[in-house]
Amino acid sequence: MKTFRIGGVHPAENKLSASEPIKVAELPKVAVYPMGQHIGAPAVPIVKKGDKVKVGTMIAEAGGFVSAPIFSGVSGTVLKVDTVVDASGYAKPAVYITVEGDEWEESIDRSEKLVTTKDKPELTPEDIIGKIKAAGIVGMGGACFPTHVKLTPPPGSKPEWVIINAVECEPYLTADHRLMLEKADEVLVGVDLLMRAGKVNKAYIGIEENKPDAIALLQEKCNVLYPNIEIVPLKTKYPQGGEKQLIDAVVRRQVPAPPALPVSVGAIVQNVGTAFAVYEAVMKNKPLFERVVTVTGKSLKKPSNLLVRMGTPMSQLIDACGGLPEDTGKVIGGGPMMGKALRNTEVPICKGSSGVLIMNDKEAKRAEPQTCIRCAKCVGACPMGLEPYLLATLSEKHMYERAMNEDVVSCIECGSCQFTCPSNRPLLDLIRDGKSTAMGIIRERAAAAREGK
């Protein structure tokens, strides 16, 4: 069975909510929309205090090409335009909306009827990309890169395939898994649309073998309806959901070091959740304002998969799953390997929120770091072929130049090294410092070179 070729680890899967059907979460009393929900320029608010909005009303427009508009997931009145502490831990500009009723924009098709590309043969790639851009769709796996940018490859590069990331390699998370089981037809139409938008006629859907039901279901549907979509079962290994790792696993090509893009080897990678959002945006005229979120944790009463309107505070979702347990030590936005620990549970659900994970006191504490015994397990685990022990030491000693020569900027921050370290060393903490400093140096030099000209 296929998998990526370098490194990788096997964290305990803990997919507690894998058999829980997606339930619709209750509407919040006040919904909060941070303006920086994606990579690129933050969105710019276009509403002011007292404005009435409906479900699906645009409340902020894109702040540039690499940016995305933001839509209200609730109907009601704008309470204020202020700041909120989002998952990054920083206060960001945000729009607060007091919820009144649940009135949707008339343009949105709320019927359950499946619309396929056969029903709308007139759609051109430009139409599809335009609708994706207008609907504010970003990568829903967590990186939140605006989808229309990915579908607009730089001149000179030619995409060959769309690769759908249905790996969900993060432990605990099951949102994508449930989405594939419950919305398989819609997801496949979404993939079809992405293929048309990228002007390719082959798509792969990479799914890890720990989701055999999803593999079987999609396989069956593709056999009948979509001969040019191939389901690729993958051997379960973290970080298979990393874009570069997934491309390597599925088509055996390795994207060169930054700044090369995946499209340089012919691949456009999109998350399965994104494919579903594309279906809804293009076929149902529904902008991105709700998503499936896994709320989970070993001490949580009812781990669940919830369909959540964006802007809903996480605390409300936790309450819906049995409340915050007594022994909570950490609340994580996302999965345990790459998610962000939150300062409080009032952080709103955004476009990239794939999960809310509760860890108890014991799980949350890190063990005391010990001296490096040079066991080389981090080197064996690194999916980028780097030497984490060396990068961490160089960063710790502020030897950033040498860290750059050792390719610190190639680090994808997957955490495999720190996960595997028997000495419990905070490898990734240190490497992050080295990587961000090195990237700063690179930017400075580029700027200096430009001025020199």
């Binding site: 370098i6 994207v255 345990p336 001296t371 040079r374 022990y389």
Partner: protein, 327 residues
């Protein structure tokens, strides 16, 4: 509600620890240890006990009185492991005071003066053995004959090791005295306490591979290199060179390949580097065995290559993502 802990990802850990690895290696040594008890009787037990006890004592004492470390490193099992491996590299009829000196050199000089676990350049147990071999050449090369009953210790009858016989054979061209390969597999030959039963060592090695404590690169590259080079020599002249099977099962080769060369601290970090390291050890072993003054080549080969580890680490990097051919 408690205050939430905020830290960077990853938020989970494999649960692996230094002591887990050390104790797994110790478990892997148990079969070879039992074999040595069967072969050499109580002498093996006494030697092992003295070696382990003095290594642990020196580690504790130096930690406590010289290094003023807050968290003592005795509990992590590395000193026990060094003690076991040092005992494995001694003849079972050696005097107790020599063992204590060896333990002091291994832990005190080779390990702790460099900063303790993780900082030492050379394998402590092997360096201890080399020190004793040079300081007490007679005591260190007087090998008890196995199977003399349980009560044998200092009074054991002694005889030559297979490697000494091979070197003699190389010089005289007389093939008749060489022991059978089955005897070397099962520990029916003279030699260091832990090295005589190749089968038990292989069993331990398979256990370590299964538990992912070590990778295959170092042991396989050493054994293959020795097999290939000695095989070539044997094809050239089967009269004076021993056959490659005898060569890989004799002396400290198995012990060295599985337990000594794979020591985390003193072996290279990348898979490529580990292969280079293993091939070089295999090559040096054969050279020393055939042309050197000592019939034993393994321990010196490993120590020499230990010194090259920093160089190997800077020269042989892991294959970076994107370097692999795209087809």
């Amino acid at each position: 509600m408690n205050k939430l802990i905020v830290s960077l990802s990853p938020h989970v850990h494999s649960g692996d620890s230094i002591s887990r690895n050390m104790y797994l290696v110790i478990i892997a040594l148990v079969p070879a240890l039992l074999c040595s008890f069967i072969s050499f009787g109580i002498g093996a037990i006494i030697t092992t006990a003295i070696s382990v006890a003095s290594c642990v004592f020196f580690e504790w004492a130096i930690n406590k009185f010289c290094m003023k470390n807050k968290n003592c490193t005795v509990c992590d099992g590395s000193a026990i492991l060094t003690g076991l491996l040092l005992a494995f590299n001694l003849p079972s009829n050696i005097a107790p005071w020599i063992i204590v000196i060896g333990a002091f050199f291994a832990i005190g000089v080779v390990k702790m003066t460099f900063g303790g676990l993780g900082c030492n350049l050379f394998n402590p147990a092997l360096a201890g053995r080399a020190f004793l071999l040079i300081s007490f050449p007679v005591a260190m090369t007087t090998w008890p004959v196995p199977g003399q009953g349980f009560g044998t210790y200092l009074d054991a009858k002694t005889g030559a090791t297979p490697l000494a016989l091979m070197q003699e054979m190389f010089k005289s061209g007389d093939l008749t005295k060489l022991p059978e390969v089955e005897d070397m597999l099962l520990g029916n030959t003279g030699g260091c306490l832990g090295e005589v039963c190749a089968l038990a060592i292989l069993l331990g090695g398979i256990f370590l591979l299964w538990k992912k404590v070590i990778t295959w690169h170092i042991p396989v590259s050493i054994i293959c290199t020795v097999f290939v080079i000695s095989g070539l020599l044997w094809i050239i002249n089967p009269v004076i060179f021993s056959n490659p099977v005898a060569e890989i099962f004799s002396g400290g080769l198995m012990l060295g390949a599985v337990f000594m060369a794979t020591d985390y601290v003193t072996s290279p970090m990348s898979a490529k580097g580990q292969l280079v390291f293993g091939v070089a050890i295999g090559f040096l072993t054969i050279i020393i065995r055939i042309f050197g003054a000592y019939p034993e080549g393994m321990s010196f080969a490993i120590l020499i290559m230990n010194a090259f580890v920093p160089l190997i680490n800077s020269k042989f990097k892991p294959t970076r993502f994107g370097e692999v051919s795209t087809k």
